[in-house]
């Protein structure tokens, strides 16, 4: 710590800038305008999606959950409308995440950080919490005053009301999250009648806690310090990407302006600091594109309001590209260039992965088998002189109804097949037998194969399982073991 102090002093001597900026609380001011209205609309849409999601129903028959979006942990199933995913198919989720990431790359390279500014949950919930704060404690100036004044009944009442409102929203957030993992109507009833499990209450509490902490207290610090996305998004942005831009060629030199003063020889920026006051991350957009800017554009609304008041044209701050900024400065006509190598590559990768995912989904097999050969005993000599191996055969029936499967073993001359669960005698292995498996379940069978002694310690063969209705087939390479002599 002490050496830091020495360094800090040295730095100060040379640059005049302290090494560490202590955190300053941001008090964003409320603002009206088209962008704010758009932001409210997106916020409502996102919240609606989040809260309505678990209440959507989807009929899958009596034996299955009727919730359209459900991750059923105890039953190890995930449901998405007509798609049902088993745990071993989690790569679909990985695929979705990859799609999300590449989609984000594409959108970012085209329009800048609109994900951050409009749809990111951190932004949506921070906005919601700020709205509650503004409703209870008042706008920026009143909030600053409230924080600075000493303890009073009014301050305690307002702070209590604010945190109560925040906690309420937080609990509602955590509650809705848990609904995606449980049947929503049952869960709501259980939660309010105190019949829900400790796990359910625990997770509601956990997500309520993180929501309260991140959206209430941490806010812009999540974007600035915790989130990796602002730090890598510069890789997607080029001079043709739209971003919240301060048109310095119009605004500078800035300065205070009194009514009636001439606008000649000066810029349009009257240094009113409205753009800073409304910024949810508390930055000065006039410093140019920066890491902390989440691209929400609220400063555009604030600045336009001021420009209207002082009678200058709107758009001193606007969504614009860097290239257009340069063009406008020179007096050239601005242009839009959406088709760039970068966007082509992102779009192509996006299409490719989408096609891959769709192919995987449509070709998703509804029958899978796994075969586990007995380890002890490896093989058994029978009284008749032949050798018998035991296997545990598991057939996954991913369809919702009971289906029958014809199983056989190919590649073992003269072998007989016998299934312990079926009280039938052994049948020729190449011909096989038929097994029923309940819908959405794994059928587990003890299968015995009996073959004449061949003198080979290992014989490779195939288990073949064919669904009798659709003819869908799954194969498994297995080994028949026997004595060497």
């Amino acid at each position: 710590m002490s050496s830091t102090l020495t360094r800090a002093r040295d730095e100060h001597d040379e640059e005049g800038i302290p090494l560490f900026a202590p955190h300053e609380k941001v008090y964003p001011r409320g603002v009206q305008g088209p962008i704010r209205r758009l932001k409210w609309a997106v916020l409502c849409a996102c919240l609606a999606l989040y809260y309505i999601g678990p209440w959507l129903r989807w009929d899958r028959g009596p034996a299955h959950p009727s919730q359209a979006l459900l991750i059923d942990m105890p039953a190890r199933r995930a449901y998405f409308f007509w798609i049902e995913i088993w745990p071993q198919e989690l790569y679909y989720l990985a695929g979705l995440l990859i799609l999300g990431a590449i989609g984000l790359f594409l959108v970012t390279s085209l329009f800048g950080r609109i994900w951050c500014g409009y749809t990111c949950p951190q932004t949506v919930w921070t906005d919601l919490f700020l709205w509650a704060e503004r409703l209870i404690e008042g706008d920026r100036a009143q909030r600053i005053r409230l924080d600075q004044q000493g303890l009073s009944l009014e301050k305690v009442a307002k702070k209590t009301a604010k945190h109560a409102a925040w906690l309420l929203i937080a609990v509602a957030t955590g509650g809705a999250w848990v609904m995606y993992f449980n049947d929503a109507p049952t869960l709501v009833r259980d939660v309010f009648t105190l019949h829900a499990s400790t796990t359910q209450y625990g997770f509601i509490g956990l997500f309520a806690g993180t929501t309260y902490l991140l959206a209430g207290w941490a806010r812009e610090q999540v974007c600035t310090y915790m989130c990796p996305w602002p730090r890598i998004q510069s890789a997607m942005i080029d001079e043709e990407t739209f971003a919240v831009t301060y048109r310095d060629w119009r605004g500078e030199p800035r300065g205070k302006h009194k009514k009636g003063d001439s606008w000649a020889g000066r810029g349009d920026c009257i240094d009113c600091r409205a753009c800073i006051a409304v910024c949810p991350t508390g930055i000065d957009i006039r410093d140019g594109l920066q890491l902390e800017c989440i691209g929400c554009g609220l400063c555009i609304d604030a600045c336009n309001e001021i420009m209207d008041k002082v009678g200058r044209p709107r758009g001193l701050i606007a969504f614009d590209t860097y290239a257009n900024g340069v063009a406008r400065k020179r007096g050239e006509t601005p242009h839009r260039r959406f088709l760039r190598p970068r966007t082509f590559i992102y779009a192509a990768v996006l299409l490719f992965v989408t096609a891959l995912m769709l192919t995987a989904l449509t070709r998703r097999s509804t029958v899978e088998i796994s075969v586990l050969a007995d380890r002890s005993p490896l093989f058994v000599r029978l009284a008749g002189g032949s050798i018998r191996d035991g296997y545990t055969l598991k057939i996954e029936n991913k369809a919702s109804e009971t289906r029958t499967y014809a199983i056989s073993a190919q590649g073992l001359p003269g072998a007989l097949l016998h299934v312990a669960e079926l009280e039938v005698v052994a049948v020729p292995a190449e011909q096989g037998t038929v097994l029923p498996v309940r819908g959405d379940a794994i059928g587990s069978f003890r299968v015995y194969l009996q073959a004449p002694k061949s003198g080979q310690p290992e014989t490779h063969f195939q288990f073949i399982v064919r669904e009798t209705q659709s003819g869908e087939t799954a194969r498994y390479e297995a080994t028949f073991r026997g004595p060497a002599s």
Binding site: M1, S2, S3, T4, L5, T6, A8, R9, E11, H12, D13, P18, L19, F20, D374, R375, S376, P377, L378, V380, R381, L382, A383, G384, G385, R388, G390, A420, R446, Y448
Partner: protein, 289 residues
């Protein structure tokens, strides 16, 4: 040591006022969240000490208001597990072995319980999965000494073989060599004949002599063709499956000294439900009849 608290020029923050060789130290308080978390852990510790056993005294320890101990927790969870199994256990006690096999739920429970009991009590001799070892029969094949039906298996497990239990399986093979019933040449001849029974190569001359000796001494128990007799545990000599080995040296040893191995009676050690589950499990290993 001078203790002049002052503001640092660069950062405008207080220093502690201590100075070591010109190096001064910021008076930076702990981050508040850190401090509060620390206080919360202290509060947690106090509450924990009150509620749970925690502070060691000289001979004992504080018990805590909740009266929790690992031992009582284990007893409670064991009790809960036993209670959860009770309905299956009761049904298995009441059902016949055939009925258990017909009920998929009971069959699954019995096989699982049987496997656990088998691994604990039987696997040391019979090996996991009933693979068997020299002198300890393989339970997965279709060659049974005393019968492979459910009833026969249950009987064998309950009372054992050749032990002090009055109901145990009893039979005795004579010590043909050691007791002087047959001489060395005769034993060698009969061993050759026994090898031909399971289609192993043996000199025809001596095997022919052995056949006569076999007819006189062995047929009574092992049958005319050496196919054995499960009533008295007489081994099938014709099927190529051997308990001790089918080569000539081992056969001579077996005939000379006899093999009268024993299996404990489990009826006294295991409860009837466990024996039922063991029966079901052993029957399911592949050789059940």
């Amino acid at each position: 040591m001078p203790t002049k608290r002052e503001k640092d020029v660069a950062t405008v923050r207080e220093t502690t006022g201590h100075e070591w060789d010109g190096i001064r130290e910021f008076d930076t308080p702990l981050p508040r969240w850190w401090l509060y978390t620390f206080i919360a852990t202290i509060v947690f510790a106090v509450v924990y000490c009150v509620l749970y056993p925690s502070i060691p005294l000289l001979r004992t320890h504080t018990e805590g208001l909740l009266g929790y101990t690992n031992r009582t927790a284990l007893v409670a969870s064991t009790k809960a597990a036993v209670a959860a199994q009770a309905k299956f256990i009761d049904r298995i006690r009441a059902a016949s072995l055939d009925d258990i096999r017909k009920d998929p739920e009971l069959l699954g429970f019995a096989e699982t319980g049987g496997r656990a009991a088998f691994n604990e009590n039987c696997a040391p001799c019979h090996r996991p999965g009933g693979a068997g070892a020299k002198g300890f029969p393989n339970l997965a094949d279709d060659d049974w000494l005393w019968g492979g039906t459910l009833a026969a298996i249950q009987q064998t497990i309950t009372h054992g073989i050749r032990n002090a239990d009055p109901d145990s399986r009893q039979s005795q093979m004579p010590r043909f060599g050691a007791d002087g019933i047959l001489n060395r040449q005769q034993i060698s001849d009969v061993a050759d004949y026994v090898m031909t029974l399971s289609h192993q190569p043996a000199p025809a001359e001596s095997a022919k002599r052995g056949a006569a000796i076999f007819a006189q001494n062995c047929v009574l128990c092992h049958g005319e063709k050496g196919t054995g007799n499960q009533e008295i545990g007489a081994k099938n000599l014709a099927d190529g499956i051997w308990l001790y080995g089918g080569d000539k040296a081992t056969l001579i040893q077996t005939i000379t000294y006899a093999r009268n191995s024993s299996m404990p009676s489990w009826g006294a050690r295991l409860d009837p439900v466990t024996i039922k589950m063991l029966t079901i499990y052993v029957h399911s290993l592949g050789g059940g009849q």
